[in-house]
Amino acid sequence: MSILFDGLSLGAIYALIALGYTMVYGIAKMLNFAHGDIIMVGAYAVFVTLMGGGHIALAIGLSVIICVVMGVVVEKFAYKPLRGASPLAVLITAIGVSYLLQSISQLVFGAEPKTVTIASLGTVSLFGATISVSSIVTLVIGAVIMAGLTLFVKKTRTGRAMVAVSEDKGAAMLMGINVNRIITITFAIGSALAAAASLFYLMQIPSVEPTLGSMPGIKAFTAAVIGGIGSIPGAMLGGVMLGVIEKICLSVPVLAPYTTAVEFGLLIVILLVRPIGLLGKKRREKV
């Protein structure tokens, strides 16, 4: 029971990050491999604020603002000039941005991991199991954010414009949609979600280092692909699946050392059976 809860809350973290990958892919048709490092930036923002004696709420706020600014700046200066360039060039640029962010944080904060002290929220007994409150908080807030995002995309004018841009940029422009602005908004939303993820991540593993974003970034990317890259519900499903599987594997002594192998193995199996991912949409080739 507590494993399931931990798994779901880890899954919520993966899902939040996976949403950033999948939305950016859906709209800008690029894999933003620097997305994981935005989490790292967010985590350092939390770390610095708390070190400076700031309240946790302030840390959250600053983390979101800094991540959003970072995401938008990266998009404007690294990716926007490459619009229309070959996907490979964009991909390599994204990897370059990833290393750049890691190196900068290493210069500023040093390479050694630093402990972040977030007041423990303790545990509660639920259905006879001991569950950490931070898991519940992560799960609930994660679910609220995802529900909000789904509503935003479905109901608002900007959300609908995002759907239109993801399907056909040219046709979207002919509707009067400012495609560049929609891409910027998408990066901003993805980065805000990464900031939220970074806080939840720190609640589970209270330590920051420059490469902090790599592993959750890769796992969340895997989750996005499992769910079907470009699909918002897919990213949520993939993230939660991966989180639960990870925690279950870790709880079985025989499997524990192979947890990561199991996760990526799942990716391979799903790609073999259903290359577009669980909830991915088949796109008809345009004639």
Binding site: R157, R160, A161, V163, A164, E167, D168, G170, A171, A172, M173, L174, M175, G176, I177, N178, V179, K281, R284, K286, V287
Partner: protein, 236 residues
């Protein structure tokens, strides 16, 4: 005064000059056609006017303003609208949602609802299929939807790129009837067509585009009787 004036338009695809410096104009209240064979540059011309592909040289003036440098999405609220080649309706959205997208530049929600009602009356097939996913519509229905969607922004200048492409003769007639309707309602029309006969028969004026150059121009009815046009485009 011309509503749309294209002067010495040049468009390159890499090193290939697709449009070699063409000039034409569309006056307010007219239906003007660009006709020509496959690969003549008709769609390229249409897309470059809307900023979908960059212009190498020349000027495009709309309503007295040079619009070369204006981002394409701003042209919609200036009263230009285009039905692109291949319809390009949003396949994953419903008919209704497609029409709402067409009204992206419109603010008045009540008016948008009325406009959608009006379009559903004009195109009963769309009315019946309001909540159907657009990707599941037939080609003809998608063309109707694309035309309805383009009218949601209340354009002064409606540009249609190959609206009859891939449609049965009956549907082609319907499409042209709708174009005439919209024209009667006061919309200026720029039409790109391979179906030269149909296009010329409803056009005030027309231009013949051949491998990136305008070779013949004149009144629609004159071109219908022009020997060269007859031979090359009307199959007579």
């Amino acid at each position: 005064m011309a509503l749309l004036e294209v002067k010495n338009l040049q468009v390159n695809y890499g090193v290939i000059r697709a449009i070699k410096g063409i000039s034409f104009e569309v006056n307010e209240g007219e239906i003007v056609s660009l006709i020509g064979a496959n690969g003549a540059g008709k769609t390229t011309t249409m897309q470059s006017i809307m900023g979908l592909i960059p212009i190498k040289d020349g000027t495009v003036t709309y309503d007295g303003k040079v619009i070369n440098k204006i981002p394409g999405h701003k042209l919609i609220s200036m009263g230009m609208s285009q039905v692109p080649e291949g319809r390009r309706v949003f396949q994953e959205l419903t008919v209704y949602e497609n029409l709402v997208m067409g009204a992206y530049t419109q603010k008045d929600k009540k008016k948008i609802k009325e406009d959608i009602e009006e379009i559903c009356t004009r195109f009963p097939r769309l009315g019946e299929r309001k909540n159907q996913i657009a990707g599941t519509l037939s080609g003809g229905e998608q063309q109707m939807l694309a035309m309805g969607r383009a009218m949601m922004s209340h354009p002064k200048l409606l540009m249609l790129d190959e609206p009859s492409m891939g449609l049965s003769p009956l549907l082609v007639d319907q499409v042209f009837d709708i174009i005439k309707d919209y024209h009667k309602m006061g919309t200026t029309v720029l039409l790109v067509e391979q179906n030269a006969k149909k296009a010329l028969s409803i056009s005030d004026r027309a231009y013949v585009l051949e491998t990136g150059d305008i070779t013949i121009s004149g009144k629609g009815e004159d071109l219908l009787n022009n020997e060269q046009v007859k031979k090359a485009y009307l199959g007579e």
